[in-house]
Assembly symmetry: C2
Homo-oligomer: 534 residues x 2
């Protein structure tokens, strides 16, 4: 409703000590007859009411928002009990004069309080009074829980917080998993984004029931050539990163309590997502040929198997063909799903690229994860899933229901980025740059530390693993290095709790210029030498 600004609205306050507008006895306004009538309006001196409103009302700011400040002050006074239920308010003119405000400012505040139910009003011409809803139902203020406690957090939420492993430091020498952005083709990317965000392409701004067609076609072509995939565009689902890909699989393919295998050591992020989806996660040891489930493990076959066969994270092990075929055969026999995390296949430096498990056989038990995080940039949050034919409908529906689709403008830019060759050219350029950086880091480590360390994982990706003797406390070592400004990730961080995977440091070189790699690697070698000596 709109508050009338008629003079009669000011006829009020029999006890006022100011020369108020004329008023006849018995004219105290009441709620209109038809309205539910819960209480008798009570009168208070206008000056007292005004004082209570003035309290907590500050005029020291721009005029535009005064009505909001007034609204807040009045609401506070009502909720705080300073203006009890039934209190008749002064008319807008009176309050405006008292607070030195424009009358319209007061009217707007009243109107809002009326709309929201703090005030009630009678028929036209009657004044407003304070509703009794707030006083009857006002929640008592509660003592705030101490910030450190996690009161009200679910059991799964507490577990997630306990296992949280992502740290505040996401850059610097030698943070693993981070690609270079210095050489990213910004100009091309800006131009392609600008092409997407045009009035004529307004369709790209809508919700999307499925991913952007041309991107799926470009990806299918890319995967069929480089990953031997034999997939069609409709088998591809674009999602906001591999965590979402994994979450989608965990919920569409497994129920709470179902088993999931992860690699140990392995990517902690995957473990946490699977656990948060209610799955019983079992760590499976990784050796030089990748994940190595034993017959005892297979006695309880899992529902999901998360593996990184092309380049195990963080050891860099390539899953042997024998293991691949065995895994596929067992998955087939036990109706397990293999989730193939192919996160850095584009960045293989030595040997041929390893073909995907997805494309290996006619089996339909493999779901493939690819990502743009490692070859574009991590903050893009675009990755993709390739699913077997039998799961196409389920994943389309599940993705739309769980997350709703969109981001077509970025997907369109990415499709053109691939089609126009920027993607392949960027990968080629970065392979050469990363090779130089990697060799610089590897050179210092092997020159300085020799047989005392073992370097692996350097055949692909953005980082290498520098293994140390099992008796080394790699977390303490990483903490000391960090104090000296060197970012590393201890190998033991990638272990499931209660298991031992040896000691080492996972070192990202990709985002570090060579002239930083070398001196930093020397300083790190100093730390390691001291550690090994002590």
């Amino acid at each position: 409703m709109t508050l009338a600004l008629e003079p009669s609205a000011e006829v009020h306050n029999p006890d006022g000590n100011r020369a108020a507008t004329a008023r006849q006895p018995g004219q105290v306004p009441r709620p209109e007859a038809g309205a539910p009538q819960r209480m008798q309006p009570r009168t208070m001196r206008d000056s007292a009411v005004c004082d209570r409103i003035r309290h907590g009302f500050c005029t020291e700011s721009d005029g535009e928002l005064l009505h909001l400040r007034l609204y807040q002050a009045m609401r506070k006074a009502i909720l705080g009990g300073h203006l009890p239920a039934g209190t008749l308010l002064p008319g807008t003119r009176v309050l405006a004069r008292e607070l030195e405000l424009a009358r319209n400012t007061v009217a707007r505040a009243y109107e809002r309080l009326l709309t929201e139910g703090y005030l009630e009003s009678g028929s036209a011409g009657a004044n407003c009074y304070v509703s009794d809803s707030p006083s009857r139902l006002r929640p008592r203020p509660v003592a705030k829980a101490p910030a450190a406690s996690v009161a009200g957090i679910s059991a799964r939420g507490r577990e997630l917080m306990r296992d949280a492993a992502s740290g505040p430091i996401q850059r610097g020498a030698f943070m693993p998993g981070i690609p270079d952005t210095e050489h990213f083709p910004f100009e091309a990317w800006r131009r392609l984004l600008a092409k997407s965000y045009r009035r004529e392409r307004g369709d790209l701004l809508q919700y999307a029931q499925s991913s952007y067609g041309p991107l799926k076609r470009a990806l299918a072509q890319h995967l069929n050539i480089t990953r031997m995939m034999h997939c069609s565009p409709h088998q591809i689902v674009v999602v906001n990163g591999t965590h979402q890909a994994l979450d989608l699989c965990a919920r569409l393919l497994a129920d709470p309590g179902d088993g999931a295998w992860i690699e140990n050591p392995g990517y902690w992020g995957g473990r946490n997502v699977l656990r948060a989806a209610g799955l019983a996660v079992r760590p499976i040891a990784v050796d030089r040929d990748g994940i190595a489930p034993t017959p005892q493990d297979w006695a309880q076959p899992p529902r999901l198997i998360l593996v990184s066969p092309s380049s195990q994270y963080p050891t860099g092990a390539v899953l042997s063909l024998e293991r691949r075929l065995q895994l596929l055969a067992m998955a087939e026999a036990s109706a397990s799903w293999i989730l193939e995390d192919d996160y850095d296949n584009e960045l293989r430096y030595q040997g041929s690229p390893i073909a995907s498990m997805f494309g290996l056989t006619q089996s339909e038990r493999v779901i493939y994860f690819g990502t743009f995080s490692k070859v574009m940039f991590t903050g893009l949050r675009l990755s993709y899933i390739v699913v077997p034919e039998s799961l196409v409908d389920a994943f389309a529906a599940g993705n739309a229901e769980l997350y709703r689709g969109g981001r077509l403008a970025e997907q369109a830019a990415l499709a053109e980025f691939i089609e126009m060759g920027h993607f392949a050219a960027h990968i080629r350029r970065m392979r050469a740059i990363y090779t130089e950086r990697r060799e610089a880091l590897r050179g210092v480590l092997t020159d300085r530390l020799g047989d005392a360390v073992e370097v692996s994982g350097h055949q692909a990706g953005l980082q290498l693993l520098c293994r140390l003797g099992a008796d080394v406390d790699d977390r303490a070592l990483a903490a000391r290095a960090l104090q000296a400004g060197i970012v590393t990730r201890p190998l033991s961080l990638y272990a499931c709790s209660g298991t031992a995977v040896g000691a080492g440091l996972n070192l990202g070189y990709a985002a570090v210029p060579v002239d930083t790699v070398v001196p930093t690697a020397h300083r790190l070698a100093d730390f390691i030498e001291r550690e090994l000596a002590g």
Copy 2:
């Protein structure tokens, strides 16, 4: 390993019927002595081997990828048993000549097959033979499950598919929930995005442990003014849409089996996300004053209460102050969390904006959801959560672990979009445009149908609800209208299964130009008239 291209690699094939390179008897290569020796190499005529490789190898394409095609053909022949374990392969030169390929092409294919374990090789100079791993372990091809079946889908996945309500049609008159993009300030948005994607701002391309500071500050200021929120920037978490916001709350604040209340009728998307998180969802009836839980409902207080108090979807009801305070008091008493979905508060046309529940009291039981989908564009997939102080740490950790953060470049563009006034200006402009479109639609409906329908929900947002008599089959009506090209959403679609919420059509006008609204509304009125007459 790299395959040697020495001439001796060609010394092979005693039974060759072609004039092969010179070869001494007894020179058949064997695996080197030290290697595990599982079988005797077997010889096959070179021409037979070449034929088997040629089968399925197609040269009709660009030369660049011939080695990949050859690799695939050979792999297929090996996995298919056409080249049995132990088969000695012709040398690269022989196969190259047979298939009319460059020798290097063959060498690359061999190299890859060796790397991946399909082939084994002896000492330098010895030829390759087929490994026995594939034949021992080759999974048998399985019959594909029919596409219609959902074999392998989890119980929660099947439930999600069964309840899926998002449709392939996301635009057109009168699709609800969709804002106009014709008047979006593309030029400003492009310019701000371009500012973010620059080499000097490479930090915006990284993973992010928390949301972009300036965006959180801009949002806090905006919310404190327009929504009376009293929140600090650090209480804000930017996420990829309201579904993700809800999923995060469901997992951090509730465990499987915990109760969650939703509005009935209400947004089906929220229901599905809560169910997928394992919660026991209970529909609570909505009347003209919003959600109306009964004492019987409160006898089993829920863990989560999802409400849209400012503008209930799809009825448009505003939750009364009395109900708000009651909900807060009861939530406080029963340790429930109120999830306040404030999806379209910026677009209120009549009356003052309704203050948020979050800012209403000192209670810490409210979590606030805001979104840019309705005032920017739906495909942006950026929305935000405001959490009480006690939950700040849990939500920061949970968000990072479950989804990993990023998209800072877009967040930076959005922050400037707000700070520079584009956001407020766009909202103002769209309010005027939407008012015109809404009144055009409402005018036709009321003129043509009068008291036979009841229009609600037009005070805010992007759509209005046209209620029909409870005996009308609104799904059939919507289906008939759709055949004539008119998109509507039947009210009954928003009901939880097994409950009745009346009949009606939810009609989105925001993205429809006035000169389309009017004739389409008349055609729709024809349908409704016929329905009411029949």
